[in-house]
């Protein structure tokens, strides 16, 4: 497609309690743009976190980072050793960034 740029999209789901650590890691990697979605439930190796259960107080966070291919690889490399502690999941996929907005990647 015209006026688009091939980029990597990284989706990370982790427990809320690790959010600060992840953000720090992103800023060490000089990531200049990401989105954060809160109050996410789910099933994983640590069991079910119901998004409807108000007694269970654990929630997940989804952080979506879109960046160029090189920084993406570097980010993956520096995230990978921490994933065991973070839990959750980390996905990489391809996308096209529609050019136009101020560059925040």
């Amino acid at each position: 497609m015209n006026n688009t740029k091939a980029m990597k999209r990284i989706d990370i789901v982790i427990g809320e309690e690790k959010f600060d650590n992840l953000i720090e890691l992103l800023s060490e990697n000089k990531i200049r743009g990401y989105s954060v979605l809160r109050k996410i439930g789910g099933l994983g190796s640590r069991g079910f976190r119901s998004p409807y259960d108000i007694l269970m107080q654990e929630e997940n966070v989804l952080v979506v980072v879109v960046c160029e291919i090189d920084p993406a690889e570097n980010l993956i490399k520096s995230i990978q050793p921490k994933l065991k502690d973070f839990g959750g999941m980390c996905l990489v996929s391809d996308c096209l960034w529609v050019e136009g907005p101020p560059i925040s990647y």
Partner: protein
């Protein structure tokens, strides 16, 4: 015996709404706001009436009652482990839940006393706040002691203690006690009582409505676990309550205070304990412990237990101490 208080019927209403699958939902923010309110109010009210006591006299008695509370999980554990055949982790975790307390059950006890025109020692709120510490620590030790730890699995004692000591309920209860005490001593209770005392019962009603909704969702899960855990959820609090009534009477609490101590020993946690156990004993199954606590023991206590604990308190107090 007094009539059942209207406020507990809000619990029934919540259960019914859950059972008929009503679309009634209490917003999560309301649920959390109400619990913040109740914790502050319980602490504040206790603090205000503590202002009449000499703190130096109170502290040793209170500490003794807190420490003795560790007996509750120590008794629960062998029953759960050897009669109930639960795993070490589950037995420890459930013990911690039953050693710990439920501020809402306590609130229903306070409301019951108000209803029959009885008073109690203000420092019961303080005891409630502190009781969680020995209960949860004992529960975790029971769950972990002697177990072969898999590589890399260490009990995170630091994290656990931090969780216990800085937990919402402890912070708000103790904060409420101190501010209430200060307000009492400086004669400044007046404008705050309109909210934290007068509205107590009305807020409790809303909270019980929500608890009913939650309990109805949990009950099914616990019934599937079989009859043992249901029987435990009813018989164990009666035993713990009897022990609490004895301890209260022994330390010469008023009948009202004796009953509240019985309520504290008999009640069990469904907020603080699950949070602590998730950190310290992640291998335990929260569905059983929360289910028994919220689905069985909580309703039993507010409907049947509280009047019985009052009978126990009266009965002990009919015995001459000296």
């Amino acid at each position: 015996m007094a009539t059942i208080q209207p406020v507990v019927f809000f619990f029934v209403l919540g259960v019914l709404a859950g059972v008929v699958k009503s679309d009634l939902k209490i917003p999560e923010a309301l649920y959390k706001s109400l619990s913040i309110f109740l914790l502050i109010a319980i602490g504040f009210k206790g603090g205000v009436s503590m202002a009449k006591y000499d703190i130096m006299e109170v502290l040793p008695i209170a500490s003794a009652m807190v420490v003795l509370a560790a007996m509750v999980p120590l008794t629960a554990y062998p029953i759960l482990r050897f009669v109930g055949k639960f795993s070490q982790a589950d037995a420890g975790s459930i013990s911690a839940h039953y050693g710990s307390v439920s501020a809402v059950t306590f609130a229903v006890g306070v409301a019951y006393l108000a209803n029959i025109n009885q008073t109690s020692e203000g420092y019961m709120a303080l005891i409630m706040a502190l009781m969680e510490i020995p209960a949860l620590v004992t529960g975790v030790i029971l769950a972990k002691a002697g177990a072969n730890k898999a590589e890399g699995e260490k009990t995170q004692w630091g994290k656990l203690l931090h969780e216990i000591l800085t937990g919402t309920s402890l912070i708000l209860l103790i904060g409420g006690v101190i501010i209430g005490y200060y307000a009492g001593v400086t004669n400044n209770v007046a404008p705050l009582d309109k909210m934290y005392m007068d509205l107590f019962m009305g807020v409790l009603a809303l909270f019980l409505l929500e608890m009913g909704l939650l309990a109805s969702a949990r009950l099914k899960a616990v019934l599937e676990k079989g009859v043992f855990i249901v029987a435990f959820g009813i018989l164990f609090p009666l035993t713990a309550g009897l022990f609490g009534a004895y301890v209260g009477w022994y330390f010469q609490l008023s009948p009202g205070g004796t009953m509240l101590l019985a309520v504290l020993y008999a009640s069990c946690s469904y907020i603080a304990a699950p949070a602590a156990m998730r950190i310290a004993v992640p291998e335990a199954d929260p569905a059983v412990s929360i289910g028994a606590s919220l689905g069985v023991t909580f309703p039993f206590n507010i409907f049947v237990g509280v009047p019985i604990y009052w009978q126990m308190a009266e009965w002990f107090h009919s015995i001459p101490l000296d």
